[in-house]
């Protein structure tokens, strides 16, 4: 029976990041150390905390420490006890530097050699970007992660004519007076032009989900190349699940296959945001199963 760690095995950490510091908790192993670190990334928004809803990540960290792992849960800049102003939590701009800062901190303790990354939703994007950039990454689990690049999706699903009509309509003309909205329209126009060129060049082919974000496919492809085990977990009521299923029949699916990645979609309800205790328990169980899988590979 695994011993659960308590706060006696934990220490608050403060990781310097630019002019701020990222606050988190390091849970040290209470069993023989595996010399493997686990870093838990929370989702986006200022409501999320490193301990997450119902502190399910605290339960997870203490359980993993009982299995010999060193675990860090931390808050992004401006979240929880981390200082500074909240960065935009935009899936297309993952907080890779913050992830790398925390990973570097854990590696510098000299207590771990390999790193496993866990994250959900926006945290999943941060996990992919961070893990793909670090040779020490030995495993990745992401849950309820959005796979679509929304701007790309609009560029694929709308015609240039509809964008022009919207921009020239009364609401569009009003919006275009604001510099921020003008920039958005301009970026969308550029994306649409790129899509049209790709179509002409036949680049997108028959991919049913040509809007899958490069911030998903590129890091996953790098992890596949390095044979880093990855598990992708979705609840069947997650709003991102239909996109994921569609994308699996295209390029994303090929990457998943090439990497030998695992996919779990067994949870029958919503996992995203962990709005029920059952959803939290499912991810804890998925994580423990993934750890056992990694252990068996070794």
């Amino acid at each position: 029976m695994t011993t659960l760690a308590t706060a006696a095995a934990e220490a608050p950490i403060s990781v310097p990041f630019e002019n701020d510091r990222l606050a988190g908790i390091l849970t040290r192993p209470v069993a023989d150390s595996r010399r493997v670190g686990v870093i838990v990334f929370h989702g986006g928004g200022d409501f999320n905390l490193p301990s997450h809803r119902n502190r399910w990540t605290v339960q997870l960290a203490r359980r993993l420490a009982g299995d010999g792992y060193s675990v860090i849960r931390f808050g992004y800049r401006g979240v929880g006890d981390s200082t500074g102003r909240l960065d935009p939590h935009t899936p297309e701009r993952p907080l890779v530097d913050q992830g790398r800062a925390v990973a570097g901190y854990l590696l510098e303790t000299g207590e771990v050699e390999g790193l496993i990354f866990l994250g959900s939703c926006f945290g999943g994007r941060n996990v992919l970007a961070t893990a793909a950039s670090l040779p020490e990454a030995t495993g990745v689990l992401v849950a309820s992660m959005p796979v679509a690049d929304q701007r790309q999706r609009h560029a694929h699903e709308q015609s240039p004519g509809s964008l022009a009509r919207r921009a020239l309509g009364p609401e569009g003309r009003e919006a275009l007076r604001r510099p921020g909205r003008r920039r958005r329209y301009a970026r969308m126009a550029v994306s649409m032009a790129r899509v049209q060129l790709q179509r002409l060049a036949g680049v997108t082919g028959n991919d049913p989900a040509p809007w899958v974000s490069a911030k998903v496919t590129e890091p996953l492809a790098r992890l596949a190349e390095r044979r880093v085990p990855v598990r992708l977990v979705y609840g069947r009521d997650d709003e991102f699940y239909p996109d994921f299923e569609l994308a699996r029949s295209g390029r994303l699916g090929r990457i998943i296959e090439e990497g030998g990645f695992e996919v779990d979609t067994s949870y029958p309800a919503r996992l995203h945001g962990f709005p029920t205790v059952a959803a939290q328990q499912h991810l804890i169980e998925q994580t423990l199963a993934f750890m056992a899988h990694l252990d068996a590979r070794l």
Binding site: T6, A7, A8, S51, R55, G80, A269, T276, V277
Partner: protein
């Protein structure tokens, strides 16, 4: 404004086998006095966290020593949520305040509490003989909290975040002794431990000067102003500051950028009102 120091650590609770996660904010100069912050619970603890961190930093910059903490069974602390009771919350807050006083050499003369932590904050103020009590949108009747949580569940069900409700929350708590409310397993024992406690009863004969911040003039704002009225009637001079928000701040959507901006502005207003009142207020 003072230079400040901020430190997170694990400290012993009233039960020495359970450690509590605590954050201490200190001014660089000797502190004017001490403040302990008693957090709300469950989902509201997440919603309020950044405001509490801000008020800790701002009060330290104004010369106060401030301690925030996660109670037993909550956040990063030890313990089990199922064991949560009004009395354990009071004991934990008192332990945190006493250790802050010992460390800094100044008395904790102010207690800040939010929502259902209001009666806890009042009990702590009495135990510490604190002079000031600041309450952010207080609720003192657990039945009101159950109503608020029930509404949150209904809204989540309508939004498809959780399955439809099969029973009212009050029935679930009575029958199962616990209920999953948006991912928090609320123990019925905790709500029962609040029975009959109000801010005024918890203050008892101890006199304080109070500040109540009400989030708008809607139902939840009215609950807050009723708490303030009860305090004043019981002999605790209490000022009410009502935030200009059409909807309770707890209900502003997490994912909506407009809601986020509005929440930030409201959070800034709450912090500014608290710091302004404490820094400018006189002791009774």
């Amino acid at each position: 404004m003072f230079e400040t120091d901020e430190r997170a650590e694990f400290l012993a609770s009233a039960d020495p086998t359970r450690l509590l996660y605590a954050v201490t904010h200190l001014p660089a100069e000797p502190a004017r006095s001490g403040v302990v912050v008693v957090s709300p619970l469950f989902l509201e603890s997440m919603q309020n966290y950044n405001r509490e961190a801000s008020v800790g930093r701002e009060l330290a910059a104004a010369g106060y020593a401030v301690r925030r903490f996660h109670p037993r069974g909550g956040g990063d602390s030890d313990g089990d949520l199922a064991d949560l009771l009004h009395d354990t919350l009071v004991e934990d807050a008192v332990a945190m305040a006493v250790s802050l006083s010992t460390e800094t050499g100044v008395a904790v003369d102010t207690v800040v509490g939010t929502r259902l932590a209001a009666p806890v904050a009042a009990a702590v103020a009495r135990r510490l003989t604190a002079a000031r009590l600041v309450l952010w949108e207080p609720i003192e009747d657990p039945a009101n909290m159950i109503k608020a949580m029930g509404r949150s569940r209904q809204m989540a069900a309508i939004a498809g975040l959780i399955g439809p409700e099969d029973r009212p929350l009050s029935e679930m708590l009575a029958a199962d002794r616990k209920a999953d409310v948006l991912g928090f397993m609320i123990p019925a024992g905790y709500l029962e431990s609040l029975g009959g406690r109000t801010v005024a009863t918890e203050l008892g004969g101890h006199r304080v000067r109070g500040l109540v911040i009400a989030g708008g003039t809607g139902r939840e704002g009215r609950w807050a102003t009723a708490v303030a009225a009860g305090m004043s009637e019981a002999g605790h001079p209490t000022e009410v500051q009502t935030l200009a928000t059409p909807e309770s701040w707890w209900l502003l959507a997490a994912d909506d950028p407009l809601g986020r901006r509005e929440r930030t502005e409201l959070g800034n207003a709450v912090v500014a009102a608290t710091v302004g009142w404490l820094a400018g207020g006189s002791l009774p």
